[in-house]
Amino acid sequence: MENANGLEAAASVTPTPKRRPPSRLVRVEQRTAWLLLSPTFVILAVIALYPFAQVVYSSFTNAKFASSTETRFVGLDNYRALFAFTIKELPPRLDEDGEPVLRDGQVQYESWVSVLPRQPQRFRQVFQFSLLGKRYVLGAVSAEFIRAVWDTVVFTVVAVFFETVLGMIIALTLAGNFPGRGLMRAAMLVPWAVITVVSARIWEWMLQPTRAGLFNTVGSYLGLSEGRTDFFGNPTLQLPSMIMMDVWKTTPFMALLLLAGLATIPSDIYEAAKVDGAGPLRRFFRITVPLLRPTLAVALIFRTLDSLRVFDIFQVVLGNQRYSMASFAQDMLVSRRDLGMSSAASMVIFVIIFVFALIYIRMLRVDTR
């Protein structure tokens, strides 16, 4: 801990300078800063400028991917198609005598097809809900996209929460010195190091709907299930299964960053707190959390960004059953070849991610000055 001591020592000997140096120095610093930043911006400009501009431009057109059909400017049509929604009441299904049809004592309702408008654009069901004894259906032109946005946000919030909690527990546990620490750090890297596409396949194999899969086999041995749980086909289990996969895969990312953050906290601060009689919980919330905040903020921001762009695992495991925002954009592009809609969806994803990033930066008071 020589560095930390050195750091403390340096801090104690240097007087805090109040007078700003002359403006020439400020100018030099300004110029140096931009010089240091320039490689980053040059690289990003080369690789990002044209593709980004293309996404923005295409989102206002009806461009088809890999097609010579003429491209027309359509203004905000793509965005309107992504967001247009309507709410309609569903009438009960009536039999020949005009009485509502009952099944198991439940009133049956007409199909949404008969209720939702078809002109000028087709509306499809997102979900149904009951209010004041009446049944309603929420319809949207891009029902799949609305569902994808909702699913992705839920997926992200829940997954990132668990990743943070588990990552913190793992980082705190492994921060100390104990025999076998090297082995544990190796183990910690494994999930992150397994190729994403392959890790999705491992989980898919473990979660098979028959007893050829680990979960169903163990579940049936323990008497928890009949060994036929359909983790990816049953809609209520789909998102929890995906979250379970993602948490396993990316917790190490969190844990590693937090571990590095912990390493920069000088140990004498803890010693001092111990002498003052602060308990471990108090030390955690009074010292660890505040000092870790910048690291935690960056880790949270990047994990959330990645999670909102989740693609591989949805594509591999759920295919066309259920989409994440990015797998929706991919599907729009490849199977429908609708470059315009796909780009508009990507723009929406961009905005949603930006909003999340802003919220984090504000809430965690990330210093951007």
Partner: protein, 283 residues
């Protein structure tokens, strides 16, 4: 056990080791399943109920993966691509992170936001545009992968390093300046050694991100098979006949790729940290 140990301490120790064990099992069980699946015969792989350890472990899957020249080559390509991406991101990112974390200048906040915004589009959205850029530049597959992976590794390294640089007290830098060091010298001899753990961690995370990338690699190497990376090579694993999926081989490949990666990375980590810290000026 001659010394008397306080019971609370014993409970604490037991709890600690229990926690370590739980964490270990949680982190490793899917990988364990990959190993077990790779060791099973095709018949045992699909048997119900699944066996927790192969009846007769076989090495056929490992053998066929290792005798696949294209796979072995892909490991080399992946190592080259991921290391270059990491090195480049760290150098470029450390410059930017230093400027953003430690210097005063106009336009800092917008710079941070612009850099972060680079990672906000889904990969699929920029793929076609990026492919067009690469074709215009006439770049071969390997450099084009290295360059395009910066799209997600660079913003990450810049942000993490900015946070770490900012965490270091200004006083240290000023002390160095008082000693007559230039900004660069201060950077090299004071800040870099102090941020070594952060650099290595960031590099590690970036390396693996680049190592795992699939979509760009698949597209850029379509017409250049020798430049294919590991994820693409694994995606191109096939059975003897169409539609058959060689699951055992995929699992064997996963194990072959992951184990050396983890071991190497750990060895390197300590070396690099030691190396970078060595240059530090002593307080």
């Amino acid at each position: 056990m001659r010394r008397r140990v306080k019971p609370a301490r014993v409970v604490g120790q037991v709890f600690f080791w229990l926690l370590v064990a739980v964490i270990f099992v949680y982190l490793m069980f899917p990988f364990y399943w990959a190993i077990v699946s790779a060791l099973k015969t095709q018949a045992e792989l699909i048997r119900t109920p699944a066996t927790l350890w192969p009846d007769q472990p076989v090495l056929t899957n490992f053998r066929s993966v290792l005798s696949n020249d294209r796979f072995v080559r892909a490991m080399g390509v992946s190592t080259l691509v991921a290391s270059s991406v990491t090195l480049l991101s760290l150098v470029v990112g450390a410059f930017a992170g230093y400027a953003l974390g430690k210097m005063r200048f106009k336009g800092k906040a917008p710079s941070l936001y612009v850099i972060l915004a680079m990672t906000m589009f889904p990969q699929i959205a920029v793929l076609a545009g990026l492919y067009a850029v690469i074709r215009v530049l006439g770049m071969p597959a390997i450099p084009s992968m290295i360059l395009s992976y910066m799209l997600f590794t660079l913003p990450f390294t810049v942000w993490v390093l900015t946070a770490f640089f900012r965490g270091l007290p200004d006083s240290l830098l000023q002390a160095a300046q008082v000693d007559g060091a230039t900004l660069f010298q201060a950077f090299r001899h004071v800040l870099l050694p102090l941020t070594a753990p952060a650099l290595v961690t960031t590099g590690l995370l970036a390396f693996i991100q680049a190592w795992n990338e699939y979509l760009f690699a698949l597209t850029f190497t379509i017409i250049d098979p020798p430049s294919r990376t590991v994820p693409v090579a694994i995606a191109l694993f096939t059975g003897e006949v169409a539609r058959q999926e060689p699951f055992g081989e995929i699992m064997a490949a996963a194990v072959i790729v992951t184990v050396p990666l983890v071991v190497l990375v750990l060895l390197f980590q300590q070396r690099i940290v030691a190396g970078l810290t060595a240059g530090a000026v002593k307080g």
